[in-house]
């Protein structure tokens, strides 16, 4: 069936919403990456089987929705009963029967599966009341957890493609661009360039062909915002792209997805096919005469291919190396044609900007960074997961109110934002409002939205070393400062971690970093030394401890620590078999001995000791 007009789309929305709401209760099973890994698929299968067996009167199998990521990955697998919003956490296959019998059959709530608020040990039934969700505002992630991942039916029922309908019928391309400019939205991929201005520039350039490309090459370690959107709500990305194409006058678009996201490829492919089948993509969209095609371009997962010029070369089938951009890609991009490249999350916000108006969007967040931003909150934090908050929310609010604070109540040490080339911010910066400019000023960056929280057992020198090693591997290797410079920077960091650092090292590293920043070809290189620069800025004493005192204060760098068995040892023998190098000897009931020459500092004894008898020095 083709949707021939906007009126028909509106009618369908009404009809589909009615169909969705006709289910007295809907089971939303989170099929996000985290929950899937924990067995969401089996839970879904079990639900269908049990429901079939029990022959529930009021419940149809269609009311089971395989939704995108709910965000609260820490508590997965998640099952939500809508419209009530009853939130079941850490659901296991064996719980399914009880849920069907009690919650679906008799509207009873299973207390044991509810979330317990650590603040007061009370159970919370609805997810909206859980602090993790209560402090969030979802725009880009609005449909995640609310609709069946790839269902066009559900997307339309949730008001999908209405932004496009409005753009195509009530606005000319110029007005669409004005609306986006009015919203103040800045690119969510990391650069933070004003999206409206980008579109306006592209639209103004004389050219027969223009391209719209969606950057789904999310490569930051620990980041999965774009993945969640592409997998859980692919239609919103497509809708954003179609609106953009209409605004700038493009007829061909590409979604660049890394092949490490196979599910995103499958879901996007299905979404494109479904949208094509009803005439939302292709020739004469919604009977308005506007045509636009979208193809998926699969990347091989090089981090550098998230950089715009490298991405475009990769889409064109060339080696994914950046080229120097004294001419911007919006002027001369894919196949040397004007190209709008936006990140997944940016495109996901566009339909909302169109349907709700740019002004409403601009009121969220701060004046210079409007709207909301999705973050993947990971590391040593209680509530790991996917979140979205208004710009300007402070790091403290994110980490403590939403994230629930540091794991096991340990002290906070640093938070790393902006992916590998971002930076580490210390406790003194916790009250910084998170937006593009303040983070950059503080020596970190917004990046695409990775947020890694570290506790006091994290050595920042080791963290810098790790991120540098990532960047050395992921540098495209084209220009010398990035390829050789980052390598040498990493070598220095390794030396310091191994206790071989000298006083000169820091000075050499600082100088080299400055040179890499001004000398590198693309953003990966110019931001490459950030792991070092931000840590030396806030944690110089820790570097000095490694170099001068040959000590790792956090007890991480194996070359600089020794394990010592103290008098607290009860002689329980537990550590002896744990030691792989047979360094520990001793008899039951007597304090054990640790031979330092045999110890390889793996920490296995430390982990098994129940009496805190082993200390790290």
């Amino acid at each position: 069936m083709r949707i021939e007009s906007v009126e028909q789309l509106r009618k369908l929305e009404k009809k589909y919403r009615g169909e969705t709401e006709s289910h007295p209760v809907r089971v939303h099973i989170c099929y996000g990456p985290g929950c899937l890994a924990n067995g969401a698929q089996e839970i879904g299968d079990r639900f269908r089987k049990v429901i079939k067996e029990k022959k529930l009167k009021n419940f149809k199998v269609e009311a089971i929705k395989e939704t995108g990521c709910h965000g609260f990955c820490e508590r997965g697998p998640l099952v939500v009963l809508e419209p009530e919003g009853t939130f079941y956490t850490k659901v296991k296959v064996k719980d399914v029967e009880a849920i069907v019998e009690k919650s679906l059959g008799k509207s009873e709530i299973i207390e044991s599966l509810l979330y317990t608020n650590p603040a007061d040990d009370k159970k919370i039934q609805r997810y909206k009341d859980i602090p993790f969700y209560a402090h969030q505002k979802r725009i880009a992630l609005r449909n995640l957890g609310q609709i069946d991942q790839t269902s066009l039916h559900d997307y339309i029922a949730a008001g999908g493609y209405q932004g496009l309908a409005k753009a195509l019928t009530a606005m000319n391309p110029n007005k669409v661009i004005k609306e986006v400019e009015l919203s103040g939205i800045r690119g969510r991929g990391g650069g933070g360039f004003a999206t409206g201005r980008k579109w306006a520039t592209c639209a103004k350039i004389e050219s027969d062909v223009r391209y719209v490309v969606c950057n789904g090459d999310e490569g930051d370690p620990g980041a999965f915002m774009d993945r969640a959107i592409m997998e859980g709500d692919p239609h919103t990305v497509l809708e954003g792209m179609i609106i953009c194409a209409y605004a700038v006058g493009s007829t061909q678009g590409y979604v660049y997805v890394r092949d490490e996201y196979p599910l995103a490829v499958v879901h996007l492919q299905k979404a494109i096919e479904d949208a094509e089948a009803v005439g939302l993509i292709g020739e004469n969209i919604l009977g308005t005469g506007f045509s636009f095609h979208i193809a998926i371009s699969r990347g091989a997962g090089a981090f550098v291919c998230g950089e715009s010029s490298a991405l475009m070369r990769s889409v064109a089938g060339e080696v994914g190396e950046p080229r120097a951009k004294y001419i911007r890609s919006v002027v001369k991009g894919l196949k040397d044609k004007p190209t709008v490249l936006n990140n997944v999350e940016t495109f996901a916000c566009i339909p909302v900007i169109l349907s709700e108006g740019g002004k409403a969007f601009s009121k969220i967040g701060t004046p210079k960074s409007t709207g909301t931003k999705a973050f993947s909150l990971v590391g040593k934090i209680e509530n790991t997961g996917l979140i979205e908050v208004p710009m300007g929310t402070t790091l403290r609010e994110i980490i403590y109110n939403i994230g629930g604070g540091i794991k096991d109540g340990k002290p906070f040490k640093a938070v790393q934002t902006g992916g590998p080339s971002g930076g580490c911010l210390p406790e003194s910066k916790l009250d910084l409002p998170v937006d593009f400019d303040t983070l950059t000023e503080a020596g970190s960056m917004m990046g695409s939205g990775g947020m890694i929280v570290m506790d006091d057992a994290t050595c920042v020198v080791d963290v810098a070393r790790y991120f540098l090693s990532f960047l050395v591997e992921e540098s495209c290797g084209k220009c010398v400062p990035c390829r050789e410079g980052l390598y040498q920077l990493h070598q220095s960091a390794v030396r310091i971690c191994e206790g071989k650092g000298t006083d000169d090292d820091l000075e050499i590293m600082q100088h080299l970093s400055d040179m890499i920043v001004i000398g590198s070809l693309c953003g990966l290189g110019t931001s490459g030394p950030n792991p070092f620069l931000s840590t030396i800025r806030y944690f110089r004493d820790e570097y000095e401890a490694h170099i001068k005192e040959k000590k790792c204060p956090a007890g991480v760098c194996t070359a600089l620590i020794t394990y010592i068995i103290t008098d607290r040892c009860t002689g329980c023998l537990a550590c002896i078999p744990a030691c792989a190098t047979d360094a520990i000897t001793g008899k039951k009931g007597q304090v054990h001995q640790l031979a330092q020459d045999k110890c390889d500092r793996c920490g296995a004894c430390y982990a098994v000791c129940k009496y805190d008898a082993i200390e790290i020095h």
Partner: protein
């Protein structure tokens, strides 16, 4: 005509000219390793970076690779500012750590007064400085027989799958343009071997001197409409033939006139 200054001197250039071209035209020595007029500039070596500013920038300046920065009216270019020299020295220093045995790098280092590397010498560092000239020239000539492989510090130049490249014609342009002479090839009496593939070389039908490879000649003959027979005689013998042919004509006119 674009007017701007290089080191304070007013110069003129055509729209679309790159800074480096104009700088060199002015006789100023700015080093580069990855630049060749035949191919698009790439900006890989970063040695040709210069500092640019404008009146209205109010003292602010930035660093650009002159090989691919197009000339602009009113630009003020400094080719050897303190920071630029620092940057070049750092790059040379990094090169020196990676390619300690390269004579070209040593020449460059001594030119810039870098005597020893500040950094850790890279174990098993070879002489390939990853300028990418070979792959760009190969692609520009229409072969694309070799390309960069991998990424990061371990990136290298190789044919597809590191097997003998089927698209190579043995023209040797890669080896002939390698700034550090890293690309090796061997010659035999009637063959040459490069990138693990052996090519038959053509021998002059008259003196036996070897010329280009049969693959290259056939490629030129096919794509450029040049008779293959042209390639079967060497240039020396071609000149002798030309002299003989013209000699016959002249002699004939002599006889006719007599």
């Amino acid at each position: 005509m674009i007017k701007f200054t290089i080191n304070g001197k007013l110069v003129q250039a055509d729209q679309g000219d790159m800074l480096l071209t104009v700088i060199r035209r002015e006789g100023i020595d700015v080093p580069s390793q990855c630049h060749h007029q035949a191919v698009e500039p790439s900006g890989a070596c970063r040695l040709c970076m210069v500092e640019i500013t404008r009146q209205e920038w109010d003292g602010w300046s930035k660093f650009v690779t002159s090989c691919l920065y197009p000339v602009e009216d009113g630009l003020m270019v400094t080719t050897h500012s303190a920071k630029v020299i620092q940057l070049r020295k750092t790059i040379i220093d990094l090169y020196l750590a990676r390619h300690p045995n390269s004579t070209e790098i040593m020449r460059l280092a001594s030119e810039y007064g870098v005597t020893r590397t500040t950094y850790e010498t890279v174990a098993d560092g070879d002489d390939c400085i990853m300028c990418g000239l070979c792959t760009r020239i190969c692609a520009h000539m229409g072969f694309s027989a070799i390309s960069t492989v991998g990424r990061g510090h371990d990136k290298e130049i190789a044919p597809p799958l590191k097997e003998a490249p089927t698209d190579c014609t043995g023209c040797l342009s890669c080896a002939n343009n390698c700034p550090t002479n890293f690309i090796e090839f061997t010659r035999d009496s009637n063959s040459l071997t490069i990138w693990g593939r052996t090519f038959e070389t053509l021998a002059c039908s008259q003196c036996g001197k070897t010329t280009i490879t049969r693959d290259f000649a056939e490629h030129l003959s096919k794509t450029r409409d040049i008779p293959i027979a042209y390639f079967e005689v060497c240039d020396d013998c071609h000149r002798k033939e030309t002299a003989k042919t013209m000699g016959r004509v002249v002699n004939w006119t002599r006889e006719v006139q007599a």
